[in-house]
Amino acid sequence: MNTQNLPTPTAKINAAFSGYFPTWCPGCGNFGIWSSLKSAFNKLKLHPDKMAIVFGIGCSGNMNDFLWANSFHALHGRAVPTAIGVKIANHSLPVIVIAGDGDCYGEGGNHLLHAARGNHDITVVVHDNRVYGLTTGQVAPTAFKGAKSKSTPGGIIEVPVNPVALVLTQGATFIAQGFSQDMIHLTDLIVAGVEHKGFSLINVFQPCVTFNPANSYSFYRERVYKLGADYDPSNFRSALDKSMELEEKIPIGVIYKSERPVYTDSLNQLKTSVLAGQSQNTEFIKFINEFV
């Protein structure tokens, strides 16, 4: 059979999810994440109608128009709580958050902790480039100490946020790190994250070629290494150790994975059907009677 003219499954599904061609700078690390997301959705056989993506605000959030699925382009910092609301209302939908480092670790940092605690079954893909791109180059919460930027001309005084250690200690049940240039590896991480039942964070290192020349493709190529088969992601202590490898050597792969009931499984109201599918309660007279 001549298969030459048949579209590859990837091309087909890419078409289904395709929106406008990205407006990101040429060479932007976001392209790798974009492609990996689409490949992962293809592998997962997701359909754009039967899922929900919640986008944050920033260069990453601008993917809303390039990755076409049912989506909510939320407020800066608030993609995580919006996604939790979507999941509670319809827990049959896969819910994915696409946000940036400033979005998720700065403006919305509080929400991230509580999403991990609740083990809400959502997958949060964070574009970590250690800089604010859309606002033209200020430090992100993940910027290395001393990084100079428009908002920190003398170098940033704070030490960087440690996203992996942060969510690990707050109860996240799936934590991975990826590198946007290694798309095959990243695709597998996204697939595993979405398949995981529970709160999953995928922190993706993604070079900003315009505003952060220091943390370039070569910077990461020299430092990232894949966690091997000998690494046990179910071990909390070793995950905590890995989370401390921040600068010299940077691990990528699944850092932690454990099982815990997800938030919606603990709600008896959702045992028989999704919340959005439930018919209206008409027996309110019994509630009125309680006030006699």
Binding site: N64, W68, A69, P81, G85, A89, L93, H111, L270, Q278
Partner: protein, 578 residues
């Protein structure tokens, strides 16, 4: 006519609020109407708490400044409130704990009833939590209520705790009753004799009424962060959640609260949030998000005195402008302000229908005064309320497939676009916080912008054409003086109206925004002279009406002490003007 007030005071933590609630229920179960008002500081233990219950054989709309029976569980209650007791009234106090010679008794004929609360507790080895039962027993004797009603109420309340607990509580009440019989055998002149053949009553707070309205409206997601005076709405719905199939989420902060609710609403469930001024300040950015994404949401905004933390457990109507103007950018919103339990249930149900119809934020405003006080209402008035659920232009799966290429922000004549839900086949769309085109894609084109701004604004015109209502008028049609107010101040004003046999008439605003300027102006022109009554310092409704109609409202009765306006204050101001 029977109309009397019982006031109970003591240290916080003594169960004062429960005593008041039980007394109110005893009254309503005896066929009377009741109205409850409480004052307490923002503390858990200690501090001075008072609760008063006004009981009448006619509908009662507010508290009054004169007390018939004052029950003092500490000396402070006597010191602070003895002066409020009317001629011929009763004061109950613990004569063994308080030296009677040190009490500053009012120069009026008052019956003093001596109840050794502390000794009763000690001699019967009762815990301090039993104090409220003893107090209720005492009150049963003083107001001549049927102790069986109290005993039944105790049995219902402690049903889950078992027979022993029930008996213990009932015994404590019996001790109080017999002690009061000894010292005050004749009781108070007004007796709570059971009235038969009157409609059955329910007794509920504004918070409970909001919750009941939400249940009736098919609300499926309530999200909140505790904040007085709206915390009790969270407690009520959390307790009922499983029974009514609602998910109730106490989120990490008010920002998460409203964003979660918007996510849930977008995914198809009727969603509500509740808060007070400070918490609402955190929600404001997402109010604007609801505006541009056209996501329905009901927001219960319980006012208390600000700015900032202000006076957390007191009352004020200080956030009208804040709510009406909330959210950056221009988008339609609807603001309702129910006055009492019946209005609160009715307007909450309506709020959900309006939110779905207009796909925009709808506010239900309350305040500490109406949200925390219990109030009786004939049950039939609540149970007969229309609970029709109208989800507006929400598409069914079938309708959606018929539309072909679905456009979430389709430009329509009424400004409202058909709404599909994620998960439906053919529903592909995005709810976009950026300005967008009809498909929902981000757009900065001038024509898309103008189209979408005008589309959203047209929802306002549609509301004015289809859902705007002129304010209600109470009292005689023709009157030289017209009182204007809004929200919870309706109660004291109606009470004043009743007590003066219609000396004035009253225009009540329960739908505050948007307003139809032309209709409103023509309507107001039909009255002669106005007195604006508001529980704030800047006459916010007055300012709003001036802005909309260019009419001035120079005569005002404004109160901003953290206390509600009393009917007596309205009467005195009205008499002064006439």
């Amino acid at each position: 006519m029977i109309d009397f007030t019982v006031k109970i005071g003591g240290e916080a933590g003594f169960g004062i609020m429960t005593t008041g609630l039980f007394l109110g229920k005893i009254a309503t179960r005896s066929g009377y109407h009741a109205f409850e008002y409480s004052e307490y500081p923002s503390l858990i233990r200690g501090g001075h708490n008072v609760i008063e219950v006004r009981i009448s054989d006619a509908l009662v709309h507010s508290q009054t400044s004169e007390v018939d029976v004052l029950l003092c569980l500490n000396k402070e209650t006597f010191d602070l409130h003895a002066g409020e007791v009317r001629e011929g009234g009763v004061i109950v106090f613990d004569n063994e704990k308080t030296d009677e010679s040190l009490l500053k008794k009012p120069d009026r004929r008052i019956s003093y009833v001596h109840i050794p609360f502390t000794r009763i507790l000690r001699e019967n080895q009762l815990a301090t939590v039993m104090l409220n039962n003893i107090a209720l027993g005492v009150l049963m004797q003083i107001i001549g209520a049927d102790p069986d009603i109290l005993n039944k109420l105790i049995a219902e309340t402690f049903a889950r705790k078992g027979e022993e607990v029930i008996t213990k509580n009932q015994q404590a009440a019996a001790l109080g009753l017999s002690e009061a019989k000894k010292d005050f055998p004749e009781g108070y002149k007004t007796k709570l004799v059971k009235i038969n053949g009157v409609p059955e009553k329910v007794y509920l707070t504004g918070n409970e009424a909001f919750g009941l309205g939400a249940i009736m409206a098919g609300c499926r997601f309530y999200c909140a962060y505790p904040m007085t005076p709206t915390s009790a709405l969270l407690h009520y719905l959390a307790a009922k959640a499983e029974k009514c199939g609602m998910v109730v989420k106490h989120a990490e902060d008010e920002i998460a609260v409203i964003n979660m609710a918007l996510g849930a609403s977008w995914a198809g469930v009727r969603s509500m949030v509740g808060t007070s001024g400070g918490g609402f300040a955190l929600m404001v950015e997402a109010v604007s998000l609801a505006g541009i994404t056209e996501t329905p949401i009901v927001i219960v905004m319980g006012q208390r005195p600000g700015p900032a933390t202000g006076m957390p457990t007191w009352t004020e109507q200080g956030d009208l402008h804040f709510v009406i103007r909330s959210g950056h950018g221009e988008f339609p919103k609807i603001v309702l302000a129910p006055a009492d339990s019946e209005e609160a249930v009715r307007l909450t149900v309506e709020a959900f229908n309006l939110a779905d119809k207009y796909q925009t934020p709808v506010f239900v405003m309350g305040d500490k005064y109406m949200q925390e006080g219990h109030q009786s209402v004939d049950m039939e008035k609540i149970s007969s309320l229309p609970s029709v659920i109208n989800r507006g232009k929400l598409l069914s799966q079938e309708d959606l497939l018929k539309t072909g290429q679905y456009k979430r922000y389709l430009v329509t004549d009424d400004g409202i676009s058909p709404r599909a839900l994620p998960g439906m086949e053919g529903s592909l769309h995005q709810a976009n916080s950026y300005e967008h085109n009809e498909e929902g894609h981000t757009s900065e084109s001038a024509s898309d912008r103008i189209q979408q701004v005008e589309k959203r604004n047209r929802k306002n015109d549609t509301y004015l054409a289809e859902d705007f209502r002129l304010p209600e008028v109470y009292g005689p049609k023709e009157s030289p003086l017209t009182v204007i107010s809004w929200g919870s101040m309706k109660g004291p004003i109606l009470q004043a109206l009743k007590e003066t046999d219609g000396l004035f008439n009253y225009i009540h605003f329960s739908r505050l925004w948007p307003l139809d300027k032309a209709k409103l102006k023509a309507f107001l022109k039909g009255f002669r002279r106005f007195l604006l009554v508001e529980n704030n310092s800047t006459a916010q409704l007055g300012q709003l009406l001036t802005m909309e109609t260019a009419m001035e409202f120079p005569d005002t009765l404004l109160k901003y002490s953290g206390r509600p306006i009393y009917p007596e204050e309205v009467i005195s101001k009205v008499r002064e003007m006439l």
